[in-house]
Subunit: 432 residues, 2 copies
């Protein structure tokens, strides 16, 4: 039995590894068009910032290690140009045909450059591959740009802005929509804008950039442009082979990660999933989700029963030292989805004052008639991660406000105040 | 309508404050036998360690502030010697009678000295009140003891041991049982013992101390003894008035915090509650629980519908810089409660290596036939708090392992690895 996996970053390698665990006899080949596999794309902005000493720190595994430790053949610089499902084979550039019994499509996503003219100029960078980051880093060292434009205020755009600022470059972020982090949430946007301002990072909302010249982006003079205007799923190969796409434009899959073609699975940034708060398909390309989907796709391909129920849309980003974490729906998003949202936002300290407690802001959103929690936001220090995760767990369980309010959360002065900020927010929400 | 509250630390003041919020017209009096109110008992070991600059940092509110901001009369040095429920009055030492319509008993707990002879010697200290901590601190400064014995390896004992060590005192901890932190969990005990050893803190298990002499505790030569051998609920006043106690020895209350006497509520360390994993009464005196119980008692006393469903037994303690966090049941505890436990323990990094990820150990316990999670342990850096809280939320919701494994937890390199240690542990457990 032959399993072929297309793509060797997060989902693809998780799928291959899981399949190997469950079936020692499977013949597993992963084909990857790039040169490097198994790298942390999410670490790239932090490499630019100078956090990772070497770009190799972002590489988790090599093809050799996959072969030696897991008997998985990983072929790099192997570009699939067609999936021929009737013949159960993929066709590589150069003409080679690789047969399969089961196929996992993990082709990922690519940066969207949309209709921006001049996006291919040499001073325009994306932050998607290791090579992108290496080139940007060299450009910073060699050209010492003084002003940069970052196009897009999603998480990569904001991380890139902070990273460039840390490298001494002046930065302005241009965002086509009225919100940051891809979340319709005026309060959060306001909060991010104010924080960026403290670091003299400009943020221009509702400002699409249509053309990049060698010395400017739109009308903004700059010597460097980072393009972080979102992603597009890499679905063309799959679509041409007859794999169905969903309404989000990404590949539609079952809970077992199977596509409409029997024995063909999809996972990671090329596939959509279910948003557990709305119950509807959503496309949220993130590394954690990609790995979970990949694991389920690998188990399914190995003939095991496994399921990926969906996501609640949790994310966290560090911008100039502060964590902005969100999960579920914002109040405006909840309204659009047909809920009758109520929300409460509180500011508290994340530890007692004598333990250098830092301010943390918690917002919780719930549905008024059912009292079900719908989403939350946490802005603060490193403890924001743990707190957003508690909300994420509550969303996955469709927890009500009155239940959340009574959670038995840990308390000791070095770690939390006696009333955890999450509980204070829930108490406020319970009054509405 | 007159509300009287006995006790002005955590539960009592939460009850009074909540009642005031809900009923502006209520006449509220809190009687407290001590001198100081509203202090963080949990902060006392950290004051000894030198974390809190002044002991006043541990005081959150004064009686004056309660009067001015909340119109709540707080009377200190007012010791109740009897509750006369038939007459709806409490009798103070000195003969004064204070009438009530509703009564909240928040008499707390006291350190257990058990049958230890010499526990009242001047070099023997507990860490229960501000005055205890003040006296111990003065003793350390004046006497400069070289060797200390800490009796009891619960959270206060371990925190005290770390604090004394940080002050340059040699420390050995004596524990009568075979486990630390009041949790039947040999792995955790082993882990704590090994950690203490790194700081040259001795731990002698199964070693009850029966007598304290001026220069020794048992046969251990020392100039200082800290007594942290657990607590006893202060229930005598209530019991004499006809308030029923539960099997745990603490006051039995309904979910509304009402005792068997109509209009008489109990909350905090003097009351028992329900363990949500076992469904059985439990007595777990902790500050967070006390405050939540107090809040519900206050709402009930003000005539509002409120309920406190119970706890899952979450706690966290910092010992020599490391967090030991637990929730729910250990595997041996689960077995005693009639479950058929399985458990998985993993070690991982709490962040990527290039973000100075520190080791974190996660153990999850589940019930084999139902796959329901029963408990967990997290040992590591500050992120242990957030991670134990996610497990606590899962326990409150009776989550299964397969559900927990798919939680949508936040990922960004500064905060977490792409596979959160919680999920890795759940994956291991799912295989059993």
């Amino acid at each position: 039995m032959k399993l072929v996996v297309i793509g060797a970053v997060a989902a693809g390698l998780s799928a291959a590894s899981r399949a190997r665990r469950l079936d020692k006899a499977l013949d597993i080949t992963v084909v990857e068009r790039g040169e490097t596999i198994s790298y942390s794309a999410c670490g790239l902005p932090y490499y630019i910032e100078g956090q990772a000493g070497s770009i190799d720190d972002l590489i988790l595994y090599t093809p050799e290690r996959f072969q030696a430790e897991r008997r998985i053949t990983v072929r790099t610089r192997a570009r699939v140009i067609a999936i021929r499902h009737a013949r159960r084979e993929v066709l590589l550039e150069g003409g080679e045909r690789v047969p399969y019994d089961r196929l996992v499509i993990a082709t990922g996503a690519r940066p969207a450059s949309g209709t921006i003219q001049g996006a291919d100029r040499p001073h325009v960078f994306t932050l998607h591959t290791l090579d992108d980051a290496r080139r940007l880093n060299e450009f910073l060292q060699r050209q010492r740009p003084r002003q940069a434009a970052v196009i897009g205020a999603g998480y990569i755009g904001l991380e890139a802005a902070g990273a460039l600022r840390a490298r001494g470059v002046g930065v302005t972020v241009f965002e086509a929509s009225s919100d940051v982090l891809g979340r319709r949430d005026p309060e959060l946007t306001q909060r991010v804008a104010a924080w960026l301002e403290r670091f003299r990072i400009g943020l221009r909302l509702n400002t699409p950039v249509r053309a990049i010249e060698p010395d400017r982006a739109g009308d903004f003079p700059c010597e460097l442009v980072v393009l972080a205007a979102g992603f597009r799923p890499n679905v063309e190969l799959a679509a041409e082979a007859g794999v169905e796409l969903g309404a989000t434009g990404a590949i539609r899959v079952s809970e077992q990660m199977e596509t409409n073609l029997h024995g063909v699975y999809a996972a990671g940034d090329c596939a959509e999933t279910i948003h557990l708060v709305t119950g509807r398909p959503v496309w949220l390309p993130l590394g954690t989700t990609a790995n979970k989907m990949g694991r389920v796709a690998g188990a399914s391909a190995a003939g095991m029963r496994a399921r990926f129920p969906g996501v609640v849309g949790t994310s966290i980003v560090r911008v100039c030292g502060l964590a902005f974490a969100t999960t579920g729906l914002s109040a405006p998003q909840a309204r659009s989805e047909g809920f009758d949202p109520i929300s409460a936002r509180i500011e508290a300290r994340d530890r007692p004052r004598y333990f250098w407690g830092e301010p943390v802001t918690v917002e919780l959103v719930a549905d008024r008639p059912s009292r079900r929690l719908l989403g939350g936001t946490v802005v603060g220090g490193a403890s924001a991660a743990g707190r957003i995760n508690v909300i994420a767990a509550a969303l996955a369980q469709r927890m009500r406000v009155d239940e959340f309010e009574q959670l038995d959360l840990a308390y000791a002065p070095p770690y939390a105040p006696v009333w955890d900020p999450l509980l204070i927010a829930a108490q406020q929400l319970a009054k509405l």
